[in-house]
């Protein structure tokens, strides 16, 4: 299958910050690449270069076979972009926002109206269609933004943290939508800080950290790379948590992670599970859940970088 997106040795520097340091990626047509990385990893920079908004310092980028540097216009005919922060015209109504894009893409008046109507419906915005977008909630703006990037039925779609700030229900709606688009043959590059999102949507995942792709492959193969599983136990009584944590770390030989009533630690040996069962049984400690789980992407990230993934504390600052 030909590659819809082909990135070779891409670098970009902002002053002293090396935002991208030699990225190679290839996304086959009709698939989803999940670009997973913490805040500041370089995801937005990469997307902006792909969308012809930013020039790279070095490397080659082809989108739909066209060079983003020398054939930007052709690239723009193929792509749709939903940036990290909703970029709708707040002074226009939702409907006017979509009509604007449709007309700029060369739709006739009638076609622009039709396309706008169906998108407003699809994104549950009909009722707000005639209100200025500045009166929209965050979720509505995101939906409008997404609708705007789909007006031209792009063959290649870039979604930069599309579900950040969405409620769980809207998040699932968006996942469904992405699956639908991919079913119709659209190629999607999606960035996210959420491991479950990449897991749920992407055919391939590339983990990016400090401007480098540090691992890539299917969710399955990434999990296998970590090679260990997690021993997890949910303790019923609050008073028992401390001693259960002590047993868990003694049995696994690793520090136990405590989250509420959930105690967990990486378990290299399947024998750790029965060992813990015996300890719990002897002391008569009641538990609600006990399992040996396969590694999550969170574990993958932790083992690759030594840090946890997920939204960092400086999130708010960046969106200011």
């Amino acid at each position: 299958m030909p590659a819809a997106i082909q990135i070779t040795d891409l670098s970009k520097r902002f002053g002293a910050t090396q935002a991208l340091a030699g990225v190679d990626l290839s996304v086959p047509e009709g698939t989803v690449l999940g670009l997973l990385g913490p805040n500041g990893a370089g995801k937005t920079t990469l997307v902006r270069i792909l969308a012809t908004l930013l020039q790279a310092d070095a490397g080659e980028v082809r989108v739909g076979g066209f060079d983003v540097r020398t054939q930007a216009h052709q690239v723009r005919e193929l792509i749709g972009l939903t940036g990290q922060y909703a970029s709708v015209d707040e002074k226009l109504t939702g409907r006017e926002n979509l009509i604007l894009i449709a007309r700029l893409l060369g739709f006739s008046r009638a076609d622009a109206r039709d396309r706008t109507r169906s998108l407003l419906e699809q994104f549950h915005l009909q009722d707000a269609a005639h209100r200025a977008a500045k009166t929209y909630s965050g979720g509505m703006r995101r939906r409008l933004d997404l609708a705007a990037s789909l007006v031209g039925r792009p063959r290649i779609l870039f979604l930069d943290e599309p579900t950040t700030g969405l409620d769980p229900r809207a998040r699932l709606d968006l996942w469904q939508l992405v699956r639908g688009l991919v079913g119709e043959g659209t190629t999607v590059l999606l960035t996210t800080q959420y491991l479950d999102e990449a897991d749920a949507l992407a055919n391939e995942i590339a983990i990016i950290d400090q401007g480098r792709v540090i691992a890539s492959g299917t969710a399955q193969s990434l999990k296998a790379r970590v090679g260990h599983r997690n021993l997890e136990v949910v303790v019923r009584e609050r008073d028992d948590i401390a001693r259960v944590a002590e047993w868990v770390s003694r049995i696994t030989g690793r520090p136990a992670d405590i989250k509420g009533h959930r105690v967990s630690a990486p378990a290299a040996d399947p024998e750790h599970l029965p060992a813990l069962v015996r300890a719990l049984d002897e002391a008569g400690v009641p538990v609600d859940e006990l399992a040996l789980r396969g590694a999550s992407l969170d574990d993958v990230f932790l083992s690759l970088t030594g840090r946890r993934a997920g939204p960092g504390p400086d999130d708010a600052e960046e969106s200011a």
Partner: protein, 258 residues
């Protein structure tokens, strides 16, 4: 052909924005009318002896002042597109690079003509009558638009350099008040101290106001109109390249929160 249609679509967008933004609409309509009426009745007696005589003096002054103020919205709109990400959305579309700016300036020209006609209409209701030949009116509009066009480049630069739309407005109006008031828009040149007269005579606002007075009520036109056009050329020659450079720099520097 396609590019022209895209440019018109973008101009349409700037004009539709005004509908949902009553403050901006007020700045174009209520504010200049208020200026005209207030100045007329407060200063009329003192400056010209009567409001009737003052009207034909001050009407061109208010028209030019408003012209200059309205250009602030070119910078304001551009800046809000840049800070809110709309500019990026447009740049990722297959449209010419210059279309967003051209659309905005085209919309500004439409707003300018409407403002001029509105003020002339209000002037008419207040008793103003044109004394010069009729063709003075279209010539005046063309001259005013030519100047507004060049002055837009100043506001494009302000729009690109400012952090947010509020700063554009703050900076724009703060800078433009002295420029419009240190002119003969509201008081005759002879009444000013002599050191100020030199400055006022060199001000493009003075030249524009004088041309408009000549074109509406009779009097010298060619001299001040040429002066205003020379200013327009100078302003464009300086600010157009500066603005384009600043815009490119701002766009290239963007990566993260933009």
């Amino acid at each position: 052909m396609r590019a022209l249609q895209q440019c018109l679509t973008l101009a349409w967008r700037s004009l539709v924005q005004v509908r949902h933004n009553p403050w901006e609409l007020g700045d174009y309509s209520i504010q200049p009318i208020l200026f005209l009426v207030l100045f007329l009745f407060v200063f009329g007696g003192a400056v010209a002896g009567s409001t009737e005589d003052y009207l034909s003096f001050i009407l061109p002054g208010v028209i030019v002042m408003n012209l200059v103020f309205v250009t602030v919205y070119v910078g304001h709109g551009l800046n809000s597109d840049l800070t809110k990400g709309v500019f990026d959305r447009l740049r990722a579309l297959p449209i010419p690079r210059w279309a967003p700016l051209a659309g905005r300036i085209l919309a500004d020209m439409v707003k300018q003509v409407l403002c001029i006609l509105l003020l002339l209409g209000v002037g008419f209701l207040l008793g103003f009558r044109m004394e010069a030949p009729w063709w003075g009116l279209p010539v005046m509009i063309v001259l005013l638009l030519a100047f507004a066009l060049s002055f837009s480049w100043v506001m494009v630069l302000v729009g690109v350099m400012s952090r947010d739309p509020e700063h554009v407005q703050l900076f724009g109006f703060t800078a433009l008040f002295p420029v419009t008031f240190v002119s003969n828009a509201f008081v005759p040149l002879e009444t000013l101290p002599s050191w100020l007269q030199t400055l006022v005579a060199l001000n493009p606002v003075t030249m524009l106001v004088d041309s408009c007075r000549g074109l509406l009520s009779g009097g010298p036109v060619l001299g001040p109109a040429l002066g205003a056009l020379v200013w327009a050329v100078i302003i464009t020659a300086i600010f157009a390249p500066l603005s384009v450079r600043a815009l490119n720099r701002r766009l290239m520097g963007q990566g993260g929160a933009a």
